[in-house]
Symmetry: C2
């Protein structure tokens, strides 16, 4: 009976009690963040103006297992464990001998994997006596996750939302406001960074870089306020490992183990959350391929340089050791807004550099074709970001059809596309194009690396 | 451990294998539909132009249990069993001794309970050799459910979408199109009914009544095409009983039984799907209160008349024995578009008339206040329709606080509100008002009953 299932559902007691910290097992540690002024490894004091000490300690910890606080676990169980599906209808449509599994994080109240870390970050900040959190959001996925989390822990939440998104996606704003967050368009008059931009250009549409600068500036200048980041950093990646830990258990319950694990990759927390729990097995000699998928429009892992760079345009963050396209690289506009980041998690970057993880880039039209195929077979409307993983899973399944190999493919479906229907509309109307990045722009931004 | 859970999750094998047919147990049967011309009970031949025989037989069956076809069951398991939650955070916020449970149907791919019947209807039509289904949609919930269902069974699907919704809610349209449905604004030039309206008023914004007429006309005039209705009829209500059957099992697993069962009510299929499986217990003497909640703007059960009336404005349907506000009653615009129907399921109407089910009406501002309270406590953003049930559940829980009674409250959360954020935006901006129906309009429409 159980072998025949399409939905592998665990119970609350199966939610992990510990996060998995890949830093305990990495053959080569990731380079430490550097103080941008001194270029020396940043210490806790470099971060304590904007992060609570518990998160700073997680950032540098080499403990393999870090206990999930009971208060966080109790919120997790509102939607966790998330289901793993066997994509039987998709397999049939592709006529492939492969078994395709996907871990679906879109069942969270915010609709993506983002609350896994937002809840943890809000908890540790609350515990440290912090009253408010600031953050930035582009498309709104991260903003709504943090709004939800702050709401649960009684923290105020201010979200600097890129002005063009604020204007074009009013419903994303409303979603955050339902959870009680204050959402202000960035650039704003609330910060020095914002005022400087507005003085130059009162009609500025904003950018994620500007919004990050505003959120950090406010957090650094107020004792009761901290800043919260939705990807890239080690503690964020750590919190996301509940995804992979659950998925492993779910596949085990089906007597399955993946030959390949696939996830979309923007800042890296979604991919890493799914894939890192398989790293110890891989280091122990188990055959498991780990593939991070990014858009060709913003090909950080496939075309970037492995070096030290700033995490933000305004050069406010420490220097991070990672693959980067340059901190002021301007990718073309694509609908997978969550994958338009110039850099990547230092942990993930190191593992890619060392050959444990591979990367692929996809064009947005082929990604949307895979998304529609998936929606019609499996029912779920995927987020454009998540559809990058679908595209590569389909490619892998078709390769199995060629080779006859009955491989087990696990991919991460990081969120639903209920707020992305404008993009689907565009695609179905035949108006969606592939938008390559500019080689000139890339050469310029790489030349400007610190 | 299990008593402490917030999420009561069943496995695939717990999905019901049979629908429950309340017609087997009703003390007084519902009046049969009447042929509008002869006023005699309508026979299968009155319906066979637009419905397949299996559904017509379900419409009149008095078998207590009707087997769910394997093909339907296999689609159900893409999202069923749906979870029951214990709303522990909401209970705490209300400081109530009551235990609040809710059955969440928003996990379906279309985001509501509607696919439970859409899948079944598509299956039976496919089995009968039908190639296309037509239907109407206002807000889009039903249209997307039928689009999904037709997609799974390889049927073409044409959705007549009320023109004003087509224009104002393009994303709902895109959602249906992702599943391969053809969506056309109604009134259209595709039907005689549509052309007649357009000749009178080329700028007509349309109405659900007009859209129904167009969908039925097309289905009746084409041998390869049938019509599909999303609520009201006996077979629709039958298919929705998977909701209540699962919920009973889930509560049993917690050693719980509801003192009160609450659901929102438009055409009645959501409420009935949750509540009808409790009817046999109630008839056997068990104390369980069943409360249908409707908007004060369209108070079918609380202010309507129990009589025979048409199901649609254009008087194309058989006469149905039900509570009605009059088939051309025009309710004011409210955001819970799914609850703006003038009539109600004949089965539900009969049980209300006979005193087994009670009804309450709520104003939309108090409904949205309950929705926001719920979202902040439980995380899930509810559909405005579903929030009517939340409002009454909160009232009941507060009554328990007064009385000290630790009652068990079960309500149906029929869908998520991801496509309703414009309404929330309105509410949060303080721009949402209660919009009472017009007593004059009601007197007029009741006077025009057939």
């Amino acid at each position: 009976m159980s072998q025949d299932k399409v939905k592998i559902v665990l119970q609350e007691e199966d939610i992990p009690r510990f996060w998995y910290n890949v830093q305990a097992d990495m053959p080569n540690p990731a380079g430490p963040p550097l103080n941008p002024a001194t270029r020396q490894p940043a210490g806790p004091e470099d971060l304590s103006a904007i992060f609570p000490m518990d998160l700073i300690m997680q950032e540098v910890s080499t403990d393999r297992w870090i206990e999930i606080p009971q208060e966080v676990w109790e919120i997790y169980r509102l939607w966790r464990p998330t289901p793993v599906y066997r994509a039987r209808r998709l397999e049939k449509a592709l006529d492939t001998p492969a078994r395709i599994y996907y871990k679906y994080e879109g069942v969270s109240p915010a609709g993506s994997h983002k609350p896994n870390t937002a809840i943890a970050q809000a908890y540790y900040n609350k515990k440290a006596g912090i009253k408010r959190l600031t953050t930035e959001t582009g498309a709104g996925q991260w903003g709504s996750a943090l709004a939800l989390a702050c709401n649960f822990f009684g923290l105020e939440c201010r979200v600097y939302m890129v002005r063009v998104s604020y204007q074009q996606k009013p419903y994303r704003r409303s979603f955050m406001e339902v959870y009680g967050a204050e959402v202000i368009p960035s650039p704003s008059n609330a910060t020095e960074s914002g005022r400087r931009i507005l003085a130059e250009n009162p009609d500025s549409l904003g950018s994620l870089g500007i919004a990050i600068s505003e959120a950090i500036e406010e957090a650094a200048s107020r004792g009761d306020t901290n800043y919260s980041l939705g990807s890239v950093l080690n503690h964020v990646v750590l919190h996301q490992t509940v995804i992979g830990l659950e998925a492993k258990k779910q596949l085990e319950s089906m007597d399955a183990y993946p030959d390949v694990v696939i996830g979309c990759c923007g800042g890296g927390s979604n991919f890493s959350g799914l894939a890192f729990p398989f790293i110890p097995d891989k280091l122990a000699g188990r055959q498991v391929e780990l593939i991070a998928v990014e858009p060709t429009a913003c090909p950080t892992l496939t075309r970037g340089t492995f070096t030290y760079d700033f995490g933000d345009t305004a050069q406010l963050t420490p220097l991070l050791n990672m693959y980067t396209l340059g901190h002021d690289f301007m990718p073309p506009g694509i609908h997978a807004g969550g994958l338009r980041y110039h850099g990547d998690s230092p942990l993930l970057s190191r593992l890619v550099h060392d050959g444990y993880i591979t990367a692929r880039a996809c064009n947005q039209t082929e990604v949307f074709a895979a998304a529609v195929l998936f929606a019609r077979q499996e029912g779920i409307l995927p987020a454009p970001e998540s559809a990058h993983a679908i595209k590569v899973a389909v490619d892998e399944a078709l390769a199995c059809k060629e080779s006859g190999a009955a491989r087990a493919i696990l991919f991460g479906l990081s969120g639903h596309g209920h707020f992305d229907l404008a993009a689907y509309d565009n695609y179905l109307a035949g108006q969606l194009a592939d938008v390559p990045y500019s080689e000139e722009e890339l050469a310029r931004s790489l030349a400007a690396l610190p």
